[in-house]
Amino acid sequence: MALLFTKKVTKRFGGLVAVGNLDIGIREKSIHSIIGPNGAGKTTFFNCITGFYRPEEGEILFNDHSLVGLLPDRIVRLGISRTYQNIRLFPNLTAMENVLVGLHGHLNAGFFGIVLGTPATRNEEKEAAEEARRLLKFVNLAGKGDFLAKNLPYGDQRRLEIARALASRPKLLLLDEPTAGMNPRETQDMMDFIQHLRDELGITILLIEHQMRVVMGISETVTVLDYGKKIAEGTPAEIQKDPKVVEAYLGRGSATEESRIVN
């Protein structure tokens, strides 16, 4: 059964159709990858799902809720959370505070409760801190909670961003190039981690990825976009053989792209 599916979603920027008539269904508890050349509309599609952009046409349904027109903060409360292609942490907050911000939607303390320091507020704050510590430990950042996010090394920042996204207790997690800039070893670890998220926590994962090793290694379904349109969809094995996909990459005259596909 599809957790999220889109019907004829179209997003234009002026005359440019960034995403056109896109139909995608994402099965619950699957790992689903979206690939495509640069500028194919992958990140725009993410932005449409999370409410940052409003698509001109089409429908996005999540658990039978329509997402079109909702603000991002509403959508994250419904259970969709994301990370960014170029890491976007809150640089001058600590790692701990970054995760606590992720928990924001699950806390209820109001202005007067906070100023008066009511027991309910205190308890909530204490539990939030505990949960944040647990999440930091979960992504292997225990002991680094008091570092400013901007002072963490790159790999830690990537994982902190995932911890922050997990803090909102998502059902669907959108990862925008989680292995960008990682060496093969780190990439392998990240793949294991993503699989673990799905297997242990039951989170559905939608992934944008350029490294074919990752895409072919962990996804159950792959969707290929080109110029905002879906040109192919299927299991990794099917996609590798699809002539349209090879053409989409080769058409740009890049032999290296071909070798990456075939890998």
């Binding site: 903060d73 809150f90 790692a95 906070i114 008091d146």
Partner: protein
């Protein structure tokens, strides 16, 4: 070598500029140490010392001879440029352009020794200062710190002598200190030496032993540590409580002004420091608070005649409502655009209260008078020494609320919005509610400050609420340190308190203000007392044994 030349030239130009705008001369009327060194000369020496230190610091490599040579040269150049000014001044009449280039200035610069000898003296003094700064740079860290503290305190005591003398005179036994420390103009030589020794000893003691005391404190069990902390806080509160009685009328007045700015600064700190919404029309809420209390309490208008305390809740509510009203139209604006829009809002309020149209209600240019003082159980907050307590209570309350908010879900939401608005929203933060709450809270604090201000003056005028107040408050926050509560207090003392204390040099107030801001941005952009990183991970009890095992076996990095 090139660095030394460059630094020396900059220092020389600064020194010449300070002389030509008359600062050196004005400052020379007051001696730091009687008949030894005046404030004017101190100013020039500080320029030469600073440049010598900078030249030493920028010397490539660590050879001490080269460091010394460089600082010597830069000091020499500073002296050289000033002597050039003296020579040119003796040949051409500069007064047509620079009003302050009077014979008195040259006399001061040449130590009354005539041009020829004076020039050599100047060169010598510059080079000596430079070389001393070089030596200072080369000396061990401990010595540097101690010297800086003790010399700095002598200069500060000298600068503030006119305030300290009458304050000591108020207290019988302390009057002896006056005689020992001060002459009619400047410190006595024995006083300066005594002070130097005392402060050196004290800072030496703290520098060497301070750390052991601190670790000793940290190693104490929680209970005594807590007792010590509470004693400290109680002592602080006690000092704050007796302060106006000790300091007398003038200093209490200065403290009330500083306190009002602290209140304003803490409010704006929530809007700018936490939520990152640059509000340049903040004075509007101050005005709204003042006018609300005036309308509700002043018999002059005859609408209402509530007491201060009855009116206060309405003031806060009005502040909060106007905060929301301003916030709503500018919700979608960011950065510069927001600053311009809020700037406009500030002016609108000022022009509205000034207008003839609203004169029957707001008093127009004549303002509203006869605002009654606040009183509790017959104790009237009349003069500065009484109002001080009202302001102190306000400050403590606002500090408390700020602290609570900062460490809460709302404070984190504000800071997330400041750091990255889009991501904050994508993390579940409702931007509309969060921003409006920031505006409303800030406006509420500001209205409170305005109400106390109006009751302190007894009247309100539109002219009290010009845009310079908004700018001043923004500067207080920037200089103190964005988002830092102690920073606001330090900033208000530095930018509002000090100028009040040094009234006689009011002419140079804006000049020093501007120079201080530029220097701050270059040397210490994070502010005088920046916000500390909140240590939360291990702050509360020892970490609970979290059950989930980490699945990720990544090497960090």
């Amino acid at each position: 070598m090139r660095q030394a030349l460059k630094v020396g030239l900059i220092g020389g130009i600064v020194a010449v500029l300070l002389s030509l705008i008359g600062m050196v001369e004005a400052f020379s009327q007051r001696d730091i140490i009687a008949r030894v060194i005046s404030m004017g000369h101190t100013l020039l020496v500080i320029v030469a010392l600073f440049m010598g230190y900078l030249a030493a610091k920028r010397t490539p490599g660590k050879g001490s001879l080269r460091v010394l040579a460089n600082s010597f040269i830069s000091g020499l150049i500073v002296g050289g440029l000033v002597s050039l000014l003296v020579i040119v001044g003796s040949l051409i009449n500069l007064r047509k352009v620079f009003v302050n280039a009077m014979p008195v200035l040259y006399e001061l610069l040449t130590f009354k020794q005539g041009t020829q000898i004076g020039v050599f003296l100047l060169l010598g003094a510059g080079a000596l200062s430079g070389a001393l700064a070089g030596l200072f740079f080369l000396s061990p860290k401990l010595l540097r710190r101690v010297l800086l503290i003790s010399l700095g305190s002598i200069v500060s005591v000298g600068v503030l002598q006119d305030l300290l003398r009458p304050t000591f005179a108020l207290w019988g036994p302390l009057a002896i200190i006056n005689e020992w420390l001060f002459t009619a103009n400047g410190l006595t030589i024995r006083g300066a030496i005594g002070l130097f020794i005392m402060i050196t000893a004290a800072s030496l003691f703290w520098s060497t032993k301070g750390e052991t005391i601190q670790t000793g404190f940290r190693n104490l069990p929680t209970a005594p540590q807590r007792i010590l902390k509470i004693t400290g806080i109680l002592a602080l509160v006690f000092i704050l409580l007796i302060l106006p009685q000790v300091l007398g009328l003038f200093l209490s007045e200065v403290f009330t002004i500083v306190g009002l700015y602290v209140l304003l600064g803490l409010g704006l700190n929530i809007v700018v420091g936490y939520a990152g919404l640059l509000d340049l029309g903040y004075v509007a809420f101050f005005a709204i608070g003042s006018y609300t209390i005036a309308i509700l309490t002043s018999p002059e208008l005859g609408f209402f005649s509530l007491t201060f305390w009855e009116a206060l809740p309405f003031v806060i509510v009005m502040g909060v409502i106007s905060g929301v009203l301003l916030g709503t139209p500018v919700l979608k604006m960011r950065g510069d655009y927001l600053a311009i829009a809020t700037l406009g809002f500030g002016e609108i309020i000022r022009i509205l209260v000034l207008s003839d149209f609203l004169r029957p209600w707001l008093g127009g240019a004549q303002g509203i008078g006869k605002i009654p003082k606040a009183s509790i159980l017959g104790y009237e907050f009349a003069g500065p020494q009484q109002i001080y307590y009202l302001i102190l209570a306000g400050c403590l309350l606002v500090i408390f609320i700020s602290l609570r908010l900062r460490d809460s879900r709302l404070g984190r939401a504000w800071m997330a919005v400041r750091e990255d608005e889009d991501v904050a929203q994508a993390m579940g933060i409702n931007l509309v509610a969060t921003k409006l709450l920031a505006f409303a809270t800030g406006a509420g604090f500001s209205a409170l400050s305005g109400a106390i201000f109006a009751s302190k003056l007894g009247s309100v005028y539109p002219h009290s609420f010009n845009v310079m107040i908004s700018i001043n408050i923004v500067c207080v926050i920037i200089v103190g340190g964005m988002g830092s509560i102690p920073g606001v207090i330090v900033g208000a003392i530095a930018l509002v308190g000090l100028p009040e204390l040094l009234r006689e040099f009011a002419e140079y107030r804006l000049f020093v203000y501007g120079a201080a801001l530029v220097a701050m941005m270059l040397l210490r952009p994070e502010g005088l007392w920046p916000e500390a990183v909140h240590r939360r991970e291990f702050h509360e009890e020892k970490e609970n044994q979290a059950e989930s095992e980490s699945p990720l076996k990544l090497k960090s990095g």
